[in-house]
């Protein structure tokens, strides 16, 4: 009968953490940043179908780096969690904090009990009604949660860019300003070489727009993204609800309508 080799718990945890960290560092980074009009998600992602940034609920967005199948699974779980909660309670009862907690528990459980940790890093963001009320939660492969303020970058090799990114961020940035800031961080070469030039085709950009009713998540693609990258103000930003808010009565759903994505 063979005896398993003794491995100290410290060693085991360290090995798992190193493994996960290496996997995450191989990919490209994602920047999530608050700005005056909401929260912007900027990722380098040439694929138009496999998203790194997604909608979870009315005011909650999701950004992830690492292994696609693993974070896609978390994303779907998050959508199910949010929709179930919103359906059985109310839309207002779905919060980023609750979702971040659930994710943290899941990530932590996998990290301690499964042989392979999840090679993912996730940001759950919730846009608030006013500037300064946004919430950003960053979750790592071992289930630890950190509440971030202003701007957060995940994935890739970020040591050299995280400082300038934090220093460059201000609460009153507009959308072109915050995109320019994020692009500077994403296009920097970790080895210290000259910065690359990222075009609209290589970027996945989405925003949670503070002023929109109900579903606030919107992708910026094609000409609209190009216009924002060129520093033009977002003319395409839709007017607020075309529907007068339903008045409360009869216990009926007071759901106002979603606007179609302006593209």
């Amino acid at each position: 009968m063979s005896m398993p080799f003794y491995v100290s718990p410290e060693q085991l945890i360290r090995d798992k953490a190193d493994y996960a960290r290496k996997g995450i560092a191989r990919g490209r980074s994602v920047v999530v940043a608050e700005y005056a009009g909401g929260i912007a998600f900027v990722a380098e992602n040439p694929s138009k179908a496999l998203h790194k940034v997604s909608e979870i609920y009315d005011r909650i967005g999701f950004a992830a780096v690492g292994k696609y199948n693993e974070f896609e699974n978390l994303r779907v779980a998050g959508v199910r969690y949010a929709d179930l909660r919103g359906y059985s309670y109310d839309r207002a009862d779905v919060t980023a904090r609750g979702l971040a907690n659930a994710y943290a528990q899941s990530l932590g459980a996998v990290f301690t009990s499964e042989p392979k940790p999840l090679e993912v890093e996730v940001v759950v963001a919730q846009v608030g009604p006013e500037v300064g009320t946004d919430q950003l939660y960053r979750l790592t492969y071992d289930g630890s949660v950190a509440e971030e303020h202003g701007v957060v970058i995940i994935g890739g090799q970020t040591e050299s860019v995280v400082g300038p990114l934090r220093e460059g961020w201000r609460a009153d940035l507009d959308l072109p300003g915050v995109l320019a800031l994020a692009l500077r961080a994403l296009s920097a070469d970790p080895a210290g070489g000259p910065a690359r030039t990222l075009t609209a085709d290589q970027l996945e950009v989405a925003v949670l727009e503070r002023a929109r009713p109900r579903r606030t998540f919107r992708r910026l693609e094609g000409p609209l993204l190009q216009a924002v990258l060129d520093g033009k103000p977002v003319a395409g930003a839709p007017a607020a609800a075309t529907v007068p808010p339903a008045t409360g009565h009869s216990g009926l759903p007071s759901d106002t309508v979603d606007l179609p994505p302006a593209d």
């Binding site: 959508v79 528990q105 899941s106 007068p244 009565h249 009869s250 759903p253 759901d255 606007l259 179609p260």
Partner: protein
């Protein structure tokens, strides 16, 4: 939920349907489940259900070249009593479709809520919209789930309309209590006043209506329904309660504003008052 990992059902790959997910993970939240239980346990007279809970009444829908208009009156009745005079029975289903409900109000509203989540859930998980036929079929499945209660007089009969982005036209779908789905052309009405509304629509609908014209026809059809059906409410000029009118075009769902509706209702009433000039009974 806080403090516990996400249950296995949440991370199981599979369906993009919220209803299927509910069925597997929390079946007690599905409207259909309760219906089956209730159907077994009670054997009341069919009319009991109608007296028991508020019923919504008339919904009309009509197409025009740019899309489709749906309108619902604001009355709910419980037997001979008016249960509500400002109930809303036309809802957005998603950005390009709307659903109106006639029948047992509580069940219908629950059905609409589930339908709205179903469409949004699919859109978020798949990253794409369902086709209009796909949406209409999902609604048929949900109506079928309510058959047990429908047999006791608690029927839910929706009318579904939307803009078909692939075809570039507005389309209307009607349902029966068994979940039968029928595509209607040009115009349709459901609910207790539908007989009168359909007659009105038949005479007033014409090809090439513009948006304002289509809204006017919808209001007139509801006026005619309210004229002859006690369970359908007409425009309430005292309380300024107007029908709920939704317009769905390529630009998406838009609910017509109260001010605009007040104008249309006033015009309809003025025209009909003028027709009565000099008549005596």
């Amino acid at each position: 939920m806080t403090g516990a990992p996400l249950p296995a059902a949440f991370t199981t790959p599979g369906s993009s349907s919220f209803t299927d997910f509910l069925g597997a993970h929390a079946p007690e939240l599905l409207p259909g489940r309760r219906a089956a239980a209730a159907a077994q346990s009670t054997q009341h007279d069919q009319r009991a259900g109608e007296q028991l809970a508020p019923h919504g009444t008339t919904i009309v829908a009509l197409t025009f070249p740019g899309g489709v208009v749906m309108a619902g009156d604001r009355r709910a009745t419980a037997g001979a009593m008016i249960a509500s005079r400002d109930i809303e029975k036309v809802f957005p289903a998603d950005a390009w479709s709307c659903v109106g409900i006639a029948g047992s109000a509580g069940l219908a509203v629950e059905l609409v809520r589930l339908f709205q989540v179903e469409l949004e859930h699919y859109e978020k998980i798949e990253g794409a919209l369902l086709s209009l036929d796909g949406k209409a079929n999902r609604l048929a499945t949900m109506v079928r789930g309510n058959l047990g209660l429908a047999m006791q007089g608690l029927a839910v009969v929706p009318l579904f309309a939307g803009y078909d982005l692939a075809r570039g036209t507005g389309r209307i779908f009607s349902y029966d209590v068994t979940g039968g789905r029928y595509e209607e052309h040009e115009h349709h009405a459901v609910g207790s006043g539908s007989l009168f509304a359909r007659g009105s629509l038949k005479k007033l609908w014409r090809q090439g209506l513009d948006t304002d014209g289509a809204v006017r026809v919808a209001i007139e059809a509801l006026y005619d329904a309210a004229d002859d059906d006690s369970a359908t409410g007409g425009p309430d000029v005292v309380r300024r309660i107007w029908p709920v009118v939704a317009v769905v075009t390529a630009e998406g769902y838009v609910r017509v504003s109260e001010d605009e509706l007040g104008g249309v209702a006033a015009a309809v009433i003025a025209d009909r008052t003028a027709e009565q000039e000099g008549r005596r009974r």
